[in-house]
């Protein structure tokens, strides 16, 4: 394999950035609350990828100090994502019960 083809940290960061951007796009542009949540999950996933990539490519990984701290952070992100998804979807269902819609453009209780 030629040297130029090898996968480096930059590759992972670029992919992660792309996914984060797409996730942002989904989260901001969708009407349905569930779709917005999908975007948020994609963003969290992109962050996870970044953390793991840094963990893998950092010099600490090889030297044995602070090994896999990035992994631990990812575990916490997964936990938070799970809790967040549960609560957010519960809220979507609750909004649906109140308004019979999950269209976020029409959920405008505060507008009066």
């Amino acid at each position: 394999m030629p040297e130029g083809l090898s996968v480096t940290l930059v590759h992972y960061l670029a992919v992660s950035g792309l996914i984060f951007g797409l996730g942002t796009g989904v989260a901001l542009s969708k009407r349905n609350a569930v779709a917005v949540l999908m975007g948020v999950e994609l963003m969290l996933n992109a962050v996870n990828l970044t953390l793991l990539a840094f963990s893998r490519f950092s010099s600490a990984f090889a030297e044995g100090e602070e090994p896999l701290a990035g992994h631990v952070f990812v575990v916490f992100v997964l936990t938070v994502a799970a809790a967040e998804a549960a609560v957010a979807l519960a809220m979507a269902v609750l909004v649906y019960r109140q308004r019979e819609t999950v269209d976020l453009d029409r959920v405008n209780l505060l507008r009066g």
Partner: protein
């Protein structure tokens, strides 16, 4: 990260993940979007595997593809009269612009920063056999406090979901 298998896997999984995300953005049906989201999650798990993160990859499948996707299925099913389309809101152009901008910024920073990263043999040397035991030691050792806080968070997440969705028995009959 020079072995051809890893390189091939990286590009394939990246393609799957990014294509999945794109389809989430453009597909017109919420259920289709969900399927593509799961595809993106699985591709992401593959990317994690290329980073030697076996436990995280499996946890990704378990939590995202197995649980959160099913949770979304339930949310979609519990809102039967809501639109099933994956329509865009009024702010679609600004949103896309923001997304592209963020991606561009991250990409720019990623490419232009002089990262202190391992390459070549040092990278291969650092490839761990398993990450499970190390993660376990860290979670109940150095990071035990965040670990406990996370468990409390999960508990309250559970509690909050129940309290939010709980329907009082009398409420249904009265209306």
């Amino acid at each position: 990260m020079e072995s051809p298998g890893i390189i091939l896997a990286f590009w394939i999984f990246s393609a799957i993940t990014v294509a999945g995300c794109l389809m989430v953005l453009v597909s017109r049906n919420l259920l289709h979007a969900l399927v593509f989201l799961v595809l993106a999650f699985l591709g992401m798990a593959g990317l994690f595997l290329t980073l030697s993160a076996d436990f995280i990859a499996v946890a990704q499948i378990l939590i995202y593809a197995g649980s959160i996707a099913v949770l979304m299925v339930f949310a979609i099913m519990l809102t039967p009269l809501a639109a099933r389309d994956n329509g865009n809101s009024l702010y679609v152009l600004p949103a896309l612009a923001a997304g592209l901008g963020i991606a561009g910024i991250i990409g720019f920073v990623a490419v232009n920063s002089p990262w202190a990263q391992l390459t070549g043999d040092a990278l291969k040397q650092g490839d761990p056999d398993t990450t499970v035991s190390v993660i376990g030691d860290l979670l109940v050792g150095r990071y035990v406090l965040p670990f406990e806080v996370a468990s409390i968070l999960l508990f309250f997440g559970l509690l909050g979901a129940i309290v939010l969705v709980h329907e009082r028995r009398g409420a249904r009959e009265s209306s």
